[in-house]
């Protein structure tokens, strides 16, 4: 299992360090936060390949961290003889016996540490030292990657050319289907890992024999006829035969079928599901790394649920999963406890989320926790009417919508404030939480969640009991019945409080759209000021 990941100089990562969870890692972050880059980097060091191709084929100047490259160019232009930018990705593994071949102290840890590990470096090729020197006289931000080389090594300082067998890695990328046969490099690797060497040899041999029998059978008469044609350059006989070169090996013709339908012809969702099942359903005596990008893509809600429970049941003791997702459903379902939050080239693991809270959200996977995770500042309100009214009041005070100020107003819709606040606290978010007093003394309500509150960071706002038990009576209290009737367009014949109770959302919408001034309830005003000071 990977115990630590260190990335230097790769794309957005200048110096990145992460200690991933032992089993499951749910990588979440805004767009451009480096989720895919992290996955790519891990795969690069584990398999020596990017998108199934060798580093040397894929290497381009944009792999290098722009800040580091700019720094280098600037310093060289100023006459400083600084070294060329390099990329290094290091994966540290736990000290298992079967990984000892990779064990050593050739890594960047200080003080010296020996453990199994693997590193991928992209560095200037010393054979081209002169060319590099020439180039550096007039450097540009586009590095001359032609003079670079990749160096894939174990921590024991021995060069690696093919993936060590203990590091079985399955990469499932449901975003795109890469090859026309549907069997891309990754799937071939996964299938390959399922076949014993003897089985592979057997398939290969049989395939060759089948091809050979074509030549002796159906093609025989054809060949007798065209053999008499003298069409070739030097009058040598021409014949048709099955191509037996390695280019046409069985792997391109033998493909998985689902319910007798070729893999490539089945739906993309089905393809993703099959890849995941194949990848995870391996002998658990190997260190297995399974990397899944955005499993929610191409899947209906029902299929996603099926897939996630399959992933859960297949996850073995020895498997480490890395999953990126944009879906709160995936996040909640697989467990918020495994969250890895990416942002600005850094990652945070969310440590110590209580089991209680994790399973609470697992049972309510539909809730949009990802919004909590990704927001800068959060306002937690009880329901949609609170949300609408708060947005209006916020705009009145600050002249902007909360969203424009990086504030996400989230309606809890009956979810427990305690669990939401715990999640916010573990993510260290700035939160204003608003709730009705429901006739209970605010002091008492506050003590229930006191552990998750923190002055100036996470505060709870509750109206006074005498000003009304919920939002609606509070609004009546602060604005007076007459003004509110006008705003809500409720005539004198109707009972205002009954109307407001019945038409909560409609009332809130009318308030939001009203041209008239609205006096905010005290607690809501305080919350709006607190969250955007």
């Amino acid at each position: 299992m990977i115990t630590k990941i260190k990335i230097h100089g790769y794309r957005i990562y200048k110096d990145f360090e992460l200690e991933p969870n032992q089993k499951l890692n749910l990588i979440v972050g805004a767009n451009e936060s480096g989720k895919s880059t992290l996955m790519e980097a891990i795969a690069l060091a584990l398999t020596g390949r990017v998108n199934g191709r060798r580093v040397s084929e894929e290497l381009n100047p944009y792999w290098f961290n722009t800040t580091l490259v700019e720094e280098f160019v600037w310093k060289r232009n100023n006459g400083e003889r600084v070294a060329f930018p390099e990329i290094s990705i290091e994966l540290f593994f736990e000290g298992r016996d079967d990984l000892q071949q990779l064990c050593g102290a050739i890594n960047t840890e200080i003080p010296t540490k020996a453990c199994p590990g693997i590193s991928m470096s992209i560095l200037p090729n010393p054979d081209y030292a002169d060319d590099l020197d020439n180039w550096a006289r007039n450097p540009s931000p586009i590095l001359p990657i032609e003079y670079y080389m990749d160096d894939w090594r174990s921590f024991a300082d021995s060069k690696i050319t093919i993936r060590p067998k203990q590091l079985a890695t399955a990469i499932i990328d449901s975003r795109t289907v890469r090859s026309t046969s549907g069997v891309d490099y990754h799937l071939r690797e996964i299938l390959g890992d399922h076949l014993k060497p003897s089985e592979r040899a057997d398939i290969s041999l049989t395939y060759r024999q089948v091809k050979a029998s074509m030549s002796d059978g159906a093609l025989k008469t054809v060949n007798e006829r065209i053999g008499k044609l003298h069409a070739s350059l030097h009058d040598r006989p021409i014949s048709l035969a099955m191509d037996q070169s390695t280019r046409t090996s069985w792997e391109s013709s033998v493909t998985p079928h689902v319910n007798k339908v070729p893999f490539s012809m089945s739906g993309q969702g089905q393809q993703a599901a099959i890849k995941i099942s194949l990848a995870m359903n391996k002998h658990s005596d190997q260190a297995n790394f399974v990397m899944v990008e955005e499993p929610e893509n191409h899947l209906t809600h029902t299929s996603l649920t099926t897939l996630l429970s399959r992933m859960e049941s297949l996850a073995g003791e020895q498997q480490q999963l890395f999953v990126t997702t944009h879906s709160s459903f995936v996040l909640n379902r697989l467990g918020l406890g495994s969250l890895l939050l990416m942002g600005r080239g850094e990652a945070h693991t969310v440590l110590g989320l209580s089991k209680d809270t994790v399973s609470y959200f697992q049972k309510l996977p539909g809730y949009d926790t990802l919004r909590i995770v990704l927001a800068d500042k959060i306002v937690l309100v009880e329901g949609s009417s609170d949300e609408i009214v708060f947005e209006r009041i916020f705009r009145d005070i600050h002249g902007k919508k909360p969203m424009e100020c990086g504030i996400d107003v989230l309606s809890m819709r009956g979810l427990s404030l305690k669990h939401c606040l715990e999640l916010c606290a573990k993510l260290d978010k700035t939160v204003a939480a608003l709730r009705d007093n429901d006739g209970i003394d605010p002091v008492e309500l506050r003590t229930q969640v006191q552990v998750w509150l923190s002055n100036g960071r996470r505060e709870l706002f509750i109206g006074k009991v005498e000003d009304g038990e919920t939002l609606e009576p509070q609004l009546v209290h602060f604005n007076g019945e007459a003004v509110l009737r006008q705003i809500l367009n409720v005539d004198a014949r109707a009972d205002l409080s009954k109307w407001m109770k019945r038409e909560k959302t409609e009332g809130a919408l009318r308030i939001a759209e009203s041209q008239q001034q609205i006096i905010p309830p005290e607690y809501m005003l305080a919350a709006a000021k607190f969250i955007h000071g």
Binding site: D97, D98, Q100, Q101, C103, G104, A105, I106, I110, P111, T112, A114, F155, A156, D157, S158
Partner: protein, 356 residues
Amino acid sequence: MANYLTLAVAGSRKTQGIVEHCASLPHDRRALVVTYTQTNQAELRDRLSTYPGDHPDIRVMGWFTFLLRDFARPFLPFIFPGKRVRGFNFEGRPHRMAKGLKRFLDLNEAVYSCELGRLAHELVEASKGVLLHRIECIYDEILIDEVQDLSGHDWEIIDVLLNSSLDVRMVGDIRQSVLATNPRSQMNKKYAYAEAINWFREREARGVLEIIENATTWRCHPDIAAFSDTIFDSSWSFPRTESRNKTVTGHEGVFLVRHEHLDEYIAQFDPQCLRSSANSGKDFDLDYLNFGLAKGMEYRRVLIVPTDGIVEFIQSGNHLGPKPAANFYVAVTRAAQSVAIVLPDAGTSKLPFWEP
């Protein structure tokens, strides 16, 4: 845990023994075969690939390669943080007074072959068990051929291996130790050359090692075998060599040859001429091979131009010191059928003169 040393005489098919042992191992046994000389490595690799060719986890490595791959390269930072071994310097020697990194690595950070054993041994300690644990995990068994050729700190490393969980099997002929891995090392001087036998016997007495004597030669004629046994005095307590050579050519055994018969002898028998070094045997213009280079070779007949020490040994029975004795032993045991020694006067020796 089970450690064995097979002490074998020249011509006893030591290498074949290793090959046969490898073939008898379970299919998935991870064995490392280590040897000192290049020729021996190539020979072993060749024979292992044909005989027990279906064992995927048997690997052949030179002693230096073993120390580089499994000791120095992975763990150098434990003594010199942030440093890497970037090459191997076979010829070079560090400055006598060199300290720290400079003692072990040259300017290009290539490790000196002569200091590699010392470095490797120090890393065993410095890594606090990680190094040894790694070796214990990646191999089940280590076989060391030509163990008599190791010297200096190499012995410390053998000690580490003997006390590990690995099975260690060593094969060697103590009487043939004419090479030394570090010509300057003071370490373990008392074990140098043929005195290595005592080192092993100490370990046998402590119960970490079992010594098996193999005194059967398939090469040397019984008379040659008997003569080779006289080269070391009885205090070494080497066992008597048994010969399985039954070939008869009409000229078998050990002979003395007077200078005036030399040309005739060579013309008649065409022996391989051997001398101790380039400085000896200058009295005759012969197509010589030095003793050291003849190691591992087999010839039908050899002719030896003796050193002063050898002359004295033959004429008056005074034994040679350990190193010249080993050299002479190598020279004598190259021969299958006959050994001729160029000597004008037999002294007290009972060896017969060859006469035309």
